[in-house]
């Protein structure tokens, strides 16, 4: 918290005054009613939580494998996740969405997951990446489907953002597979356990 001596930053005023329908400045259209607002906020909250968690997972992996041969590869994937997170931070701030209260939990558990799978070696880290990215892609796909079903025109920009992020996550997934994720002993067990955890995390972050 920085109350000491902080002064107000400049905020865009045009959006507040004039942009009440889909606005060139914002990715998310202004909600028409309480229900839509609730749905959008839930969606954005869980996406933000997901990117935050993914960030922490890569951070954990880098902490262990940062100086190994796979270091640069993990760093590259982490940088892309950082971009995703900053985009969602922007969207959340713009739309005054409450971030999930479980962020400290995802902070800790993401780091622990990344670090512990990286301790199993490069294959472990890749297996974790594959599992998580598959869960996230599936989640983004279901969001894309929901938005397309309700009103594709209205949500064009948001759909674009989610599709782009989904494609990036699929790339990470494929990279993980390319780098011998499946050769880890106990791959199926680990993968399913992680995916179950991800599903639980998504379920909870939507509500809390």
């Amino acid at each position: 918290m920085n109350l000491a001596g902080m002064s107000l930053p400049k905020l865009p005023v045009l959006k507040d005054l004039f942009c009440n329908s889909a606005c060139a400045y914002g990715v998310v259209p202004a909600p028409r009613d309480g229900e839509e607002k609730e749905m959008m906020h839930r969606m954005l909250r869980v996406d933000h939580a997901g990117e935050y968690g993914a960030n922490r997972i890569y951070a954990g992996q880098m902490a262990v494998l940062g100086r190994s041969r796979t270091g640069p590869l993990i760093q590259q994937m982490w940088d892309q996740e950082k971009k995703h997170l900053s985009k969602f931070n922007e969207i959340l701030a713009e739309n005054r969405v409450r971030p999930t209260a479980l962020l400290p939990l995802w902070n800790l558990s993401g780091f622990v997951l990344g670090a512990s799978t990286a301790l199993l070696g490069k294959e472990g880290a890749m297996a974790c990446t594959v599992a998580v990215e598959e869960s996230i892609s599936e989640h983004y796909n279901s969001q894309i489907r929901a938005l397309m079903e309700s009103d594709p025109e209205r949500y064009t920009e948001l759909l674009q953002v989610i599709k782009e992020f989904r494609d990036d996550e699929m790339d990470h997934h494929d990279t993980g597979l390319e780098h011998d994720a499946e050769s880890l002993p106990g791959y199926w067990l680990l993968k399913n356990a992680i995916q179950l955890g991800c599903k639980a995390a998504i379920y909870v972050s939507q509500r809390v």
């Binding site: 918290m1 920085n2 109350l3 000491a4 001596g5 902080m6 002064s7 107000l8 930053p9 400049k10 905020l11 005023v13 507040d16 005054l17 009440n20 329908s21 202004a30 909600p31 009613d33 309480g34 607002k37 933000h48 100086r67 190994s68 041969r69 969602f88 931070n89 959340l92 701030a93 005054r96 409450r98 971030p99 209260a101 962020l103 400290p104 490069k122």
Partner: protein, 320 residues
């Protein structure tokens, strides 16, 4: 005779409309206000034609002044009530929605609170003031709770308007941006000053808000207000700071409100002094928290150094 009445009504209506508030930029309710004003014009036009609705004509002059507060009230209540706005379109040819009517009655009832307290009597007096029979209070199932919640929501909308106006002035460069601590102090003071006319009966209002069935609504109003204040103070955090800042401001606001209840100094000077001191405390706490964070980071770095040393010793740190 009928023509004379129509002329009188038209005159009163025009005067009412010209004195109505102009659209103020509040974040999400501008289109809502615009469309309701249009509906208001349409309603007014139809009322001129309709002689039989005699009980509504006295409402036309008060309609414009309460329409802006009722529409912003709608913007807040649309989240709570599931009353669909499509109902408005069907009904607006003949009369306003029930929500708007309720808002109008409650606004009028506020005049009578110093006399009757926060009670059904005040609401009945308000209903009579807008020209309806006092039996119409039957639609207020929550009784005095409805009145208090309506007042709170009205105060919140006023606060949001004031903050948005200040924000615009800052954007236009007319006014220097305030420091966060000053901004919070001014916002809380402005908001609490709205209670001054009702100060004698405010303890009664607070106890009504603490009734179990009113708690969810009053908490919602409180959290919306705190969120608004922080938004205009420039908070764009998307991590745990979001929660800590709002918790701090809620504590600040509630404690100052309680002090205000028992304050008998001129113009509540003691309350504002209390507020200043609490804000100072919070600022100090923030500085301390920052220092603790830095210390924590230094400790973490120390631990990392120890971990790296261990890894070196055990040979885990070699390039594979």
């Amino acid at each position: 005779m009928a023509a004379l009445l129509r002329g009188l009504r038209a005159g009163r209506l025009l005067r009412g409309l010209s004195s109505g508030k102009t659209v103020v930029a509040a974040p999400t309710s501008t289109t809502l206000q615009c469309s309701s004003l249009r509906r208001g014009f349409h309603c007014a036009a139809l009322r001129l034609k309709d002689e039989s609705k005699s009980e509504k004509h006295s409402a036309s002059s008060s309609y414009s002044s309460s329409s802006s507060s009722s529409t912003t009230h709608d913007a807040y209540t649309s989240q709570q009530d599931s009353d669909p706005s499509s109902g408005d379109q069907e009904q607006d040819e003949e009369y306003e929605t029930e929500e708007q009517l309720q808002a109008r009655i409650l606004t009028a009832a506020l005049e009578f609170v110093p006399l009757h307290g926060w009670s059904m009597e005040a609401i009945s007096a308000g209903a009579e003031a807008v020209g309806l029979s006092s039996a119409s209070t039957g639609m207020f199932t929550n009784g005095a709770g409805d009145l208090v919640l309506h007042f709170i929501s009205q105060c919140n909308s006023n606060l949001t308007e004031i903050l948005a106006e200040q924000h615009n002035q800052v954007q236009l460069g007319q006014v220097e941006p305030k420091k966060t601590a000053d901004f919070l102090r001014d916002a809380v003071e402005t908001r609490l000053r709205m209670y001054i006319p009702y100060m004698e009966s405010w303890p009664q209002a607070m106890s009504i808000l603490l009734l179990p069935h009113n708690i969810p609504d009053s908490l919602k109003h409180l959290s919306t207000m705190v969120d608004d204040i922080w938004y205009y103070a420039g908070d764009r955090s998307t991590d745990m700071n979001w929660y800590t800042k709002r918790a701090v401001l809620t504590g600040l606001y509630n404690s100052t409100e309680l002090v205000m209840l028992q304050d008998s100094s001129p113009d509540f000077q003691d309350t504002w002094t209390f507020l200043d001191n609490r804000i100072q405390d919070v600022t100090n706490m923030a500085v301390t928290a920052k220092q603790m964070q830095l210390t924590g980071e230094a400790v973490a770095q120390g631990l990392m150094g120890a971990a790296v040393t261990l890894k070196n010793l055990t040979g885990l740190n070699q390039k594979r």
